[in-house]
């Protein structure tokens, strides 16, 4: 109970700080209503509804094949839902995709990297692609490289970088245009423990100004950076609450991992 209250206070205080910072922008940055997606006859995502507020980090959990990546593809406009609605900062993603997508940053499961380009060239391209003005790119590029620890490799070809650095470049392209909604599909996969720690603190920091939705299998990640969690199973959302509430699921404080398994196993 205590953990629950603390978690609630923590998320509320972040929300209110963020609300003061952004008095003009709507508080709900991402809202998805009853998203459904089929591939052939198989229903991959079934009536998933999500809401994300500014200053919030939402963890999307679930086993492999639960529909997390498909949901994220729909939230970023890569895939159209069969039915349902998505609004980004009040803009309908399906009706005004160009306007809405300028406010999204997306890191897919496999980072979309042009291996033959240098880090600088690639990030500049990504920033311009998201509609940034040429005059603003240099500042954003320097700031993003500094945040993601990429200064030392800025002139290197992406193809020659280690997996950890490539992942960082992937995150950098998703945040260079300062989007309101950041969608990260397994952002710490393939990183070493020190890199995981750095990336987690970066995501936490991003979550203070924007909204972050990330999918992961690592409960440690959820515990350290997510304000809220949603658990998906077979295309449906089966649980949604604060991280603290998940930790004390069933009335007693316990490991997130155990509680996650309990929830997914008890659901039909």
């Amino acid at each position: 109970m205590r953990a629950h209250i603390l978690g609630y206070i923590r998320s509320r205080s972040q929300l209110s700080t963020a609300a003061i910072l952004s008095d003009q922008l709507p508080e709900t940055t991402l809202s998805a209503h009853k998203l459904t997606r089929r591939f052939g006859k198989r229903v991959i995502v079934h009536e998933v509804s999500l809401e994300l507020r500014r200053g919030e980090v939402l963890g999307l959990l679930g086993h492999n094949g639960a529909g997390k990546s498909t949901t994220m593809q729909m939230l970023t406009g890569c895939l159209l839902p069969e039915s349902g609605e998505i609004t980004i900062c009040g803009i309908d993603l399906l009706r005004q995709p160009t306007l809405a997508k300028a406010r999204i940053g997306y890191l897919p499961e496999i980072p979309p990297l042009y291996r033959e380009l240098s880090v600088d060239d690639y990030l500049t391209f990504a920033a311009r692609l998201r509609g940034m003005k040429q005059s603003d790119v240099a500042t954003a590029l320097a700031q993003t490289k500094q945040r993601c620890g990429l200064e030392a490799v800025s002139r290197k070809n992406i193809g020659t970088l280690s997996k950890g650095y490539q992942q960082r470049v992937g995150i950098a392209q998703a945040i260079i245009h300062a989007p309101d909604v950041i969608v990260l599909d397994e952002p710490t996969v393939g990183l070493d423990p020190a890199q995981i720690r750095d990336i987690r603190s970066l995501i936490r920091e991003l979550g203070n100004h924007s909204s972050v939705i990330l999918s992961t299998h690592l409960m440690g990640e959820v515990e350290s950076i997510c304000d809220r969690v949603q658990i998906m199973q077979e295309g449906k959302l089966i649980y949604g609450d604060t991280t603290a509430a998940l930790a004390s699921y069933g009335g007693e404080p316990g490991h997130l991992e155990d509680n996650f398994i309990r929830i997914t196993e008890t659901q039909p």
């Binding site: 970023t76 997508k101 496999i110």
Partner: protein
């Protein structure tokens, strides 16, 4: 946005070693052919001089050279178009474009423009090579201009078709073979169709190039190339939209 995507394509092309290999191979073949044609012309020149209205150096060298370039491009363009969409989808970089505030139309036009600019640079060496003849002989500028225009329109139609095939698959090799098979198929069907009004002539890009090759700019041919390219570009845009819709 179209310009941004076109520049990205160009940059990626120029930093890829295989591009330079293709460039070198094409220039070598064209230069070889040019010199062979020049030598043959010099051999028969005394006999040609006895004719009442002898063919000039432009007709004897430039026209066959442009025709060879057109055939070589037919084989070369699929090697470049295969990368455009199929490779991006295989490497998962296409999601960067799909999640960006950019319309499918701009993605297609950007890629088309990028490769076309590259191929224009590539084929620019053909008229440059021919203009070295101007040092020793007057040239038929009209014939050269018609051929150059024809070659550009032809290249555009090849790129548009290759781009569409590239959007159909995630395997670049299949995209290359598919585009080559279609282009070569159209060419061969045109070659073996003996009837002058055969429909194969009407739909073969190389057949429509023949008028340009002999110095004739026929508006019907120009319209054919523009229509051919437009149809395949529209099909590619539709295909990308369908990708979003059906996965």
């Amino acid at each position: 946005m179209i310009k941004l995507l076109a520049l990205r394509e160009l940059r990626s092309l120029f930093v890829t070693p295989s591009t330079w290999f293709f460039l070198a191979a094409l220039q070598f073949i064209l230069a070889w052919f040019f010199l062979a044609m020049l030598e043959a012309f010099l051999d028969v020149q005394p006999q040609l001089a006895q004719l009442a209205n002898p063919p000039g150096v432009t007709v004897s060298i430039a026209a066959p050279l442009f025709n060879t370039a057109a055939l070589l491009l037919m084989m070369l363009v699929p090697m470049f178009t295969m990368r455009l969409i199929a490779e991006e989808r295989r490497n998962q970089t296409f999601s960067l474009l799909l999640s960006s505030p950019i319309a499918s139309r701009d993605i297609v036009l950007g890629k088309f423009a990028g490769l076309l600019i590259f191929l224009i640079m590539l084929t620019a060496t053909v008229p440059l090579m021919l203009y070295t003849l101007a040092l020793g002989s007057p040239l038929d500028h009209g014939l050269l201009a018609a051929n150059w225009l024809g070659l550009l329109l032809l290249t555009g139609s090849y790129v548009a078709l290759g781009l569409y095939i590239s959007s159909l698959t995630v395997q670049p090799v299949i995209a290359a073979i598919g585009a080559l098979a279609l282009l070569a198929g159209l060419w061969l069907a045109d070659m073996v169709a003996t009837a002058p009004n055969s429909p194969w002539h009407a739909i073969s890009p190389l057949h429509h190039f023949q008028n340009f090759n002999s110095g004739l700019i026929n508006s019907a041919d120009v319209i054919f190339f523009i229509l051919f390219s437009t149809v395949f570009l529209l099909l590619t845009m539709r295909r990308i939209e369908n990708n979003r819709r059906y996965g």
